[in-house]
Subunit: 236 residues, 2 copies
DNA sequence: CGTCCGGTTGAGATAACTCAAACCCAGTGG
DNA sequence: CCACTGGGTTTGAGTTATCTCAACCGGACG
């Protein structure tokens, strides 16, 4: 399903930062928006003809799948973020898949339109460079975590990253603002859902978090930071 | 030590692909080349004022260091490859350090010069986007390997990657063309030098590789592929 | 009301780590 | 020229964090 986009939605998108009104109008003219129901796949790993995507509303999970079916969650995308853009520079083939974990509204461009836009407005290419660079830096950090830290710390880091990205204040603390399963957390941290479950249970017993079915609330963020930084329990 | 660069060196560099002679001359005019002795650090993680770098000759190791001193090897850079460029889009701070693992000749640009070049020749920015995108895809692959595969497979993958990047035919098989310690291999695969040593010893006993002090020769690349792909021993 | 998906928890297995000791070779300096 | 030194490597023994296998639970949803 495709509808005409509203120019206002581009506001605050890092990808289009610094563009003047005329350029933004040009960008919008090439775009189409679409609604994606929760659970639907937006594109699959290996799909060809990759264009540009940006999320207006909802939440998208980017997943890489290996030859034997093992999955890892590369990242979650929130409103205002671009996604799938990497593929345009990788021969038009998506190196990972995208699934809506909540009802979504996305705005998309065909590969030709996106390329033309970048040529007409180099600022977009520069912005994309900055965004992709930031993601590369982030993935490199995770690579180090995964290589050198134990599971508990990695889970703590993953949760803190999610809080930064999609944290919502609630009475009990800070809540992750979208459905998140143990399996998801396991695939983000390179462990199994069993270990994640045990870890969250232990934290719950300490009053550190509150969690249920696809739902996590952090009650003591500072204590989670202490675990992530591997500070002695005394200071927790 | 800084000397005037020779325009010919830019030939075949992906970063400057598709530029005409005038543009290449412009690029060269802004550049300075430098010799770096083996073992010297080119820049440290956290250094400010990041510019652009490209390697003419030698080999550079990119290393990330965590808060507690744990190191991981992000990648090795060979002749013709750019490096350190990511930092320009990350607030000018290098997110990782670079060390010469062999005597090197590099060509470098100041941040101001590099930015100006990208503005005058958008093609450079597009090329950089492609290169950084490729590296992001590669790091994401390693993230999946690290999450889901056992060390033996990861070491096999790492060696195969190095062969592709710096393999040299020799009588006994294919040799990694630069000094590579067990520690390096461990930091590339998220394990310890002990485990790497044991693994290589086992492979050596099977006639699969030949290795010594900072030196590895793969005698049966196909067998290494079989390990990397986790094929049954029967087919090795 | 039944089914199924996501979660919890226990018990046992094991890959890989840690700790420890010794070795080998390449330079280096006397 | 040779002894010495130190970095890189090897190998053993014991420990353990985490995985695997397995059974069970409870709420959500049709």
């Amino acid at each position: 399903m495709t509808i005409a986009p509203d120019p206002a939605v581009l506001h605050g998108m890092p990808l289009f930062a610094g563009l003047d009104a005329a350029a933004l109008a040009d960008v919008v003219r090439q775009a189409r928006t679409a609604r994606i129901p929760k659970g639907a796949q937006i594109f699959a790993q290996g799909d060809e003809g990759a264009g540009g995507h940006a999320l207006i509303d909802g939440r998208v999970k980017i997943v890489q799948t290996g030859a034997e079916g093992q999955q890892v969650v590369i990242r979650f995308i929130g409103p205002g973020e671009m996604f799938g853009t990497l593929a345009m520079f990788m021969g038009g083939v998506y190196p990972a898949g995208a699934v809506a974990v909540a009802d979504c509204v996305e705005i998309r461009w065909t590969p030709a339109a996106m390329t033309a836009l970048m040529e007409r407005h180099p600022r977009i290419a520069l912005n994309a460079l900055g965004i992709i660079g930031g993601r590369l830096a982030e993935v490199q950090d995770r690579l180090r975590e995964l290589s050198t830290q134990r599971v508990e710390r990695r889970i703590a880091h993953a949760l803190l990253r999610l809080v930064r990205q999609a944290g919502r204040r609630v009475e009990a603390g800070v809540e992750i603002g979208f459905p998140l399963s143990r399996q998801d957390l396991a695939e983000m941290t390179g462990t199994t859902l069993h270990t994640v479950s045990r870890t969250l249970s232990a934290w719950e017993a300490q009053g550190l978090v509150e969690s249920g079915r696809q739902h996590v609330v952090i009650r003591k963020p500072h204590a989670l930071v202490a675990i992530a930084e591997d500070l002695p329990p005394a200071s927790r």
